[in-house]
């Protein structure tokens, strides 16, 4: 079952992630084109070689997004997808691109998630209620509109907080361990110039003294919104052979969806990343102890904790101990989120998950400079959408 490992990520592009963006404002189509060009240059490929594209939503168009992007890029494709998996989108893009390449329908697939601010609209727009409700749909007939929003259960913070509180009741909770996770990731972010928190490490005391947002989550355990975005090129074996860098082969993936709102999860503390990761490892012929780094989707500390457990890096209920006993920095014995994760990069909307894919690729390519994990041949990547609603896993390996 699954991939043969004959498609690889061959090029990457990433905007520096910044809380205050002071560069030129561009529409998302413009960012798409710029990111595509940068990722092609990184790989050593030409625009005319593009024959596949994976996108997500863009601000300029509510529908026909792939065709609109294709038209703007001026490059016809044989394969186009629009992914709606929230933070699991980036990983979802990569395996679909790899699968399409292995099917033989395309050879060079661009996957991009732009997230810089767009120009201010000169025509005033009516207030969009989605600004308030974010990932919860206020539309009539939506279960969230009827059974969650009226109780104030909307957006992400409170859902993740309730998962963490349930975890605490079932397995116990160590606020200092969760703080250490932030400290380790921020140590890696501190030496990553693309991270919003470049040069700004924190201590456990800083994390625990930061404002309580929704018990038990402190502000520094929650991603900070930033401007950013990134892109990668996924290519066939033949194309990869003539690219500039060591290819990062896509050898395993998994994806699993269970619920939209965690209220309805069978067990809030058993997350979809479990089956997704099991499939990814099996497909790659690896076990969790054989990867050299894990780039784990980290919208919140609790997301990382549950992923460490459910993906099999440690046993259920052992995550806090695992974090306490291991050095998770880029130079540690078990490197997690070597770029700083989104807790260190900042979260550029749905593009946040692309930072994990880009970092994993750079680690396999050996291009992470001062934060390079020595002998990095296999990296695990995860994506998380909604509130542990939909999760994806990816294994990237050197050749």
């Amino acid at each position: 079952m699954g991939l043969r490992g004959e498609a690889a990520i061959v090029g990457v592009a990433e905007y520096p992630h910044r809380r205050k963006y002071d560069g030129p404002r561009m529409f998302m189509l413009e960012q798409w084109a710029a990111l595509a060009r940068n990722a092609l240059d990184d790989a050593g490929l030409e625009a005319r070689e593009i024959d596949g594209l994976v996108c997500s939503d863009i601000r300029e168009s509510g529908m026909f997004v792939p065709a609109t992007v294709v038209e703007y890029l001026g490059q016809p494709v044989n394969f186009a997808e629009r992914i709606d998996l929230g933070g699991a989108t980036a990983v979802g893009m990569i395996w679909r691109a790899a699968a399409a390449i292995e099917l033989g329908i395309c050879e060079v697939v661009v996957c991009a998630l732009p997230a810089l601010p767009i120009p201010s609209n000169p025509t005033p727009q009516p207030l969009n209620p989605m600004v308030f409700f974010q990932s919860s749909s206020p539309n009539w007939g939506s279960p969230q509109a009827e059974f969650d929003i009226p109780y104030g259960n909307l957006a992400q913070n409170c859902g993740y907080a309730m998962i963490a509180q349930r975890y605490a009741a079932q397995y116990g909770y160590d606020a200092e361990a969760m703080a250490k996770l932030v400290v380790d990731q921020r140590a890696s972010a501190a030496i990553n110039p693309n991270a919003a928190f470049f040069g700004r490490p924190v201590t456990c005391e800083d994390v625990l003294a930061s404002k309580m947002i929704a018990d038990p989550l402190h502000m520094l355990e929650i991603v900070m919104p930033v401007a950013g975005g990134g892109a990668v090129i996924v290519a066939s074996k033949e194309v990869a052979a003539r690219c500039k860098h060591r290819p990062a082969w896509v050898t395993g993936f998994g994806e699993h969806l269970t619920i939209k709102t965690p209220t309805y999860a069978r067990d809030m503390c058993v997350t979809p990343v479990g089956p997704a990761s099991e499939q990814a490892f099996a497909m790659a012929g690896l076990t969790p102890d054989l990867v050299n780094a894990a780039e784990i989707y980290d919208c919140y500390t609790i997301t990382v904790l549950l992923t460490l457990e459910d993906a099999g890096f440690c046993a259920k209920g052992e995550g806090m101990r695992f974090i306490r006993e291991n050095d998770l920095t880029w130079r540690g014995n078990f490197p997690v989120n070597t770029h700083g994760g989104q807790l260190g990069m900042g979260q550029a909307g749905a593009a946040g998950g692309m930072t994990q894919v880009v970092e994993a690729t750079r680690q396999v390519m050996g291009r992470c400079e001062q934060r390079q994990v020595a002998g990095c041949d296999a990296v695990y990547v995860s994506g998380t959408g909604g509130v542990m609603s939909e999760q994806s896993a990816l294994i990237l390996q050197g050749g």
């Binding site: 308030f132 409700f133 279960p143 009226p150 104030g152």
Partner: protein, 136 residues
């Protein structure tokens, strides 16, 4: 936000209406599947276990346990600014279904996962009564 926004209220659908009518009468009603005996929440036209359409409304006790909670110290949206801190909760009813709700008539320090809770009914408009929970 200068003006307080009106709180978003549920707008019942043809399928969910008996649930909201029940709350207005001070009763908790759930659907149960006649085909596979599964209790279903939220209201649906098909069973979430076997997809049968043989769902029948039953009155239930409204008693359950606190599955989890959080105390939101920042409003989850501007509509709830006057409610902070918000006591958000997930309750598991005796029938096994879980629902999102708010805790009322309880001090923060007394909230415990697993505590027994019972339904209480908060009329928020002429048509809508929300289902909230308090210690049993």
């Amino acid at each position: 936000m200068d003006v307080e926004l009106l709180k978003p209220l549920p707008v019942p659908t043809p399928v969910s209406l008996p649930f909201w009518e029940g709350l207005a009468e001070g009763k908790v009603r759930l659907q149960k599947c006649d085909a596979c005996r599964t209790w279903v929440f939220y209201p649906r036209s098909r069973c979430s276990c076997c997809l049968s359409d043989q769902l029948r409304w039953r009155d239930v006790s409204g008693r359950g346990t606190l599955y989890t909670f959080t105390i939101a110290r920042q409003p989850t949206s501007p509509h709830f600014a006057s409610d902070t801190p918000q006591l958000l909760a997930v309750v598991e009813l005796e029938e096994g279904v879980r629902l999102t709700t708010n805790l009322v008539h309880v001090a923060e320090a007394d909230i415990r996962v697993g505590m027994r809770v019972k339904a209480c009914f908060e009329r928020v408009s002429p048509d809508i009564t929300l289902l909230k929970f308090q210690p049993a």
